[in-house]
Amino acid sequence: MTMYSRTVTMCKARHLRNYISQEIGYNVDFQFDYDKDEVRATFSCSDDYADIRICHNADDLEAYIIRRYGAFLIKEGIPNPKNFSMDMKKIGEVLTNPQLNKRDNYQDEYPKILSNEEWMRLKADCPNIEFENRIQNASYKKDEYQIRFGVWHG
């Protein structure tokens, strides 16, 4: 029997405590450290079940973790912008989007149009961020910028 496992550290322990259910075939050990507001999670799966629908390999496991918990991942070479997480919510007003009702992961992407001032402020905080679309306006009005960002079901 081949077991695959991957251990990651995630932020927002208290919030994540409400989102521990998993897709069938993926098992996990969570360790919630509320003082540090971090979660240590070891995900595992196997490609040796009789039922092939629940068989998953190492690549599936990594994709699963990123798809389901990508917005929470910290460390492991994944950049952690200084105003990411809660501050990002202030830019996007949508915290309980009805579109999230039937989704199977806990994060989602939204397009958001920022004014020139908002974009400059965001760019200063997250130098690596890039806009998706520049919206040209009449000459007497500054351009606006459409960005795409991930938030979680809040």
Binding site: I24, N27, D29, F30, Q31, T42, Y49, D51, I54
Partner: protein
């Protein structure tokens, strides 16, 4: 007011805002005396009210949320308040005995908070025993390899199509050359049974290797065990809670070094059917060498749902 003003979000393009429309859709906030003085019949059904101040008036209490009833005749308190079920008033959520009776036929509660050997049917091999001690119910194996003690709650059943939970507060000072099986619908510790629906904790060692608990579950079609980091070897009782979410997961929740720790198992999770009588709650402990072993049970609990038509419902008077 039109239906769109009452039942739908206001749309700036189709509904011009007016004080009346805004009032229809917003909280009326005031003292109990003020809200009690309002003419409810002129207001929209469902309108929310929030009471402030310190003085009760006309049955209304401060710091409550009320909604206007559908027929517009009276205010219904929101249930999001602290209530004791100690009176039949709506504000208290109704009498506790009525809450109990309303759930009489649908609720399973095995309470072994203070366990006694007499609560269980005991199956043994060798000189194994389950004995009442001051602090716990002590499971003691015999002295020969394979000697075991198995305790089972008699009769009963459990609906595996509904959420349930099993918990033990106890420990064993041995983590090698032992077999332990505990949970809901579990097989006896000395045998391997088929794929009967069940969930619980298991560990087995014959090699002398220190072991951890595994979460096991079967949905009647497949069975498997998922290893956890929970060490069997303990020096004092510890709480282990196993939560069954039908068709979703079996979770083992406990504290490790002060951190809340949850292991989630998602494969072969039971989602229907019932547990055969006499198998609902059980703990089995076996020694796999010629040394006597102990498992101490300070408390044992299980809660869940009765299958439909097991008991008839009670009409609440």
């Amino acid at each position: 007011m039109s239906a769109i003003d009452i039942g739908h979000d206001l749309d700036i393009n189709t509904a011009y805002l007016s004080p009346a429309k805004i009032n229809a859709k917003s909280f009326a906030i005031g003292t109990c005396e003020y809200i009690n003085s309002l003419n409810l019949s002129t207001m929209n059904p469902g309108k929310p009210f929030r009471t402030v101040g310190t003085i009760e008036n006309g049955g209304l209490k401060p710091d409550r949320t009320y909604f206007l009833s559908a027929d517009g005749s009276h205010l219904i308190p929101d249930s999001g308040i602290f209530h004791l079920h100690n009176s039949d008033a709506t504000d208290d959520g109704g009498l506790y005995r009525k809450v109990r009776l309303a759930n009489f036929n649908s609720w399973v509660n095995f309470d072994g908070t203070f366990p006694r050997a007499g609560m269980f049917k005991t199956i043994t091999q060798g000189i194994s025993s389950a004995a009442d001690a001051q602090d716990n119910l002590t499971l003691t194996t015999g002295t020969a390899t394979g000697d075991f003690i198995q305790i089972r709650a008699q009769g009963g059943t459990l609906d595996l199509g509904q959420q349930s939970a099993f918990a033990v507060y106890g420990y064993s000072p041995s983590n090698t050359k032992i077999t332990v099986k505990m949970g809901v619908g579990m097989e006896n510790v000395n045998v391997q049974e088929g794929l009967d629906r069940r969930y619980g904790l298991e560990a087995c060692d014959t090699a002398g290797t220190p072991r951890q608990y595994s979460i096991v579950s079967s949905n009647g079609v497949g069975w498997d065990a998922d290893p956890t980091t929970e060490e069997i070897l303990q020096t004092a009782a510890k709480g282990l809670t196993v939560i069954h979410n039908p068709n979703v997961s079996v979770n083992l929740s406990r504290y490790v070094s002060g951190l809340e720790t949850v292991s989630v198992k998602t494969t072969n999770v039971p989602n229907s059917g019932t547990v055969p009588a006499g198998k609902v709650v059980s703990v089995g402990f076996k020694t796999n060498e010629s040394v006597q072993k102990f498992y101490f049970i300070n408390s044992l609990k299980m809660e869940g749902a009765m299958p439909t038509q097991y008991f008839s419902p009670v009409t609440i008077l």
